[in-house]
Amino acid sequence: MKKSKIFWIYIAVALVVYAIVELLIVNGQLDMYYSNLFITIAINIILAVSLHLVIGITGQFSIGHAGFLAVGAYISAIFTTNLGFPFPVALIIGAIVAAVAGLIVGIPTLRLKGDYLAIATLGFAEIIRIIFLNIDYVGGAAGMQVDYLTTWTYAFFGVLITIIVIANFTNSRHGRACIAVREDEIAADAMGINTTYYKVLAFAIGSFFAGLAGGLFAHNFFIIQPSQFGFLKSFDILIYVVLGGLGSLSGAVIAAILLTVISLYLQDFPETRMIIYSLVLIIVMLYRPSGLMGTKEITDFFKFNKKAKGGKVNE
């Protein structure tokens, strides 16, 4: 009872934040530059939280997340710009196709472990990018014109849905099974957990939301190009998850916000940007090797009887 009340308080706080930003945008106090910053933050949070499910919760070191971002971006763009579908429908189609791509990539690669999995996922992401590069229908290297449709409202509700779905998944028997796989795959298997099923499931859900982020990303500018979805993009997302603390959803969110803001301010100095970015990472890894939040969640700081993350029941 108590906990579901807390849940509604969070939702209320989130909606207030949404309303304030929306008001500021509508009244013109936030110009394009800032409204764009908020939308970019939202997209990056979705990416961070979706990869957090794969790496932080299920322990599968996948570093090709930009591939699924690309699938969502191109598919949704085709459905709005070329086929005239409504934006929300195109977003969902993009996410579903990305989830299917996640299944296709995940089923063979998730048998691999550690470094091998990392290399395989990175390779698949490159393959996806190169496929788009070579399809004339989506403009090849020159890119594809996309309608500008993403608004703060879409971006905000995208984040809200992503966080609720992934947090609820994590705090169920299914999420516990994923965490068990992360903790000790052999023991999880011996306790009756179908480890392959849960790895693929987490991967597909992660890909779904990366696809959703892709749809928002594609329609937040007038053009998308394959070069935006290279392995540097995958690393950016990976860094949110590692910096935030493997296993911490709030950590992933905080790191995504922090790094998005830092990199925006440094946008005009690309060389300095890389240096400062690297410095931030090195400093965090030196002083907080398990990430900003470790495996803790923000909510843990407000609780008297602390429970291990990923195992709470919202009675």
């Binding site: 609820n168 099974a177 903790e183 298997d189 957990i193 195992g311």
Partner: protein, 258 residues
Amino acid sequence: MSDLLLKVENVGIQFGGLKAVSGLNMEMHAGELIGLIGPNGAGKTTSFNMLTGVYKPTEGTIIFNGKKTNNMSPHQVTKSGVSRTFQNIRLFKDLSVLDNVKVANHSLAHHSVISSIFRLPSYFSGETKMEQESIEFLKIFGLDPYMNELAKNLPYGMQRRLEIARALAAKPKLLLLDEPAAGMNPQETQDLMGLIALIREKFDLTILLIEHDMGLVMGICERIYVLDHGQLIAEGKPEEIRNNKKVIEAYLGEEVTE
């Protein structure tokens, strides 16, 4: 004796050129408590790994509860009713004590992914049921006061007990315990043996117990299998094993080399 629960016929496994176990024959009837002993490196843990699907035997057949389990994966074997503990404790270290047991309780509730995401009524009833039952298992082992601790923060003896609690939560008919008393002091060992006898009664279990310490097994097991160099060298009641020449030699040989 009652129904045949486990039949192991001529089972063996080879790693590269090394025959870790060969020609293993065992039978277990429902309700038995049986010991599997032998010197270090005899192939006891390897046998457990074959019985639980971790290793696929390269020869022979394993029939559990009328079904061949040779080629099943570990989670399928577990669902068919075999559960185990590990010689080197394998808890989910960063999960709470309670969640460790809940993981093994996975199949008690059936709420789907969709139900979990949308928090449908079946999610709440399912999770509550899992939680209540998991706490019952913890109570048996006196671990309920620590249920919100992380597993890795428990003292060693409690970690061993938690592993057994977790194995029980998977609802086995046959429970395999791999050196459950390893590293425990005599008092803890004594308590543990009492606990094993208790859960056996309470849950109608059949138990196969690996123990390095021969004296300990003699005390509680009805029958004993003895492995040495991957081969079964003796089988029988404790007093028969105690006086078996081959067994004495195997253990003496070990003491000399140790």
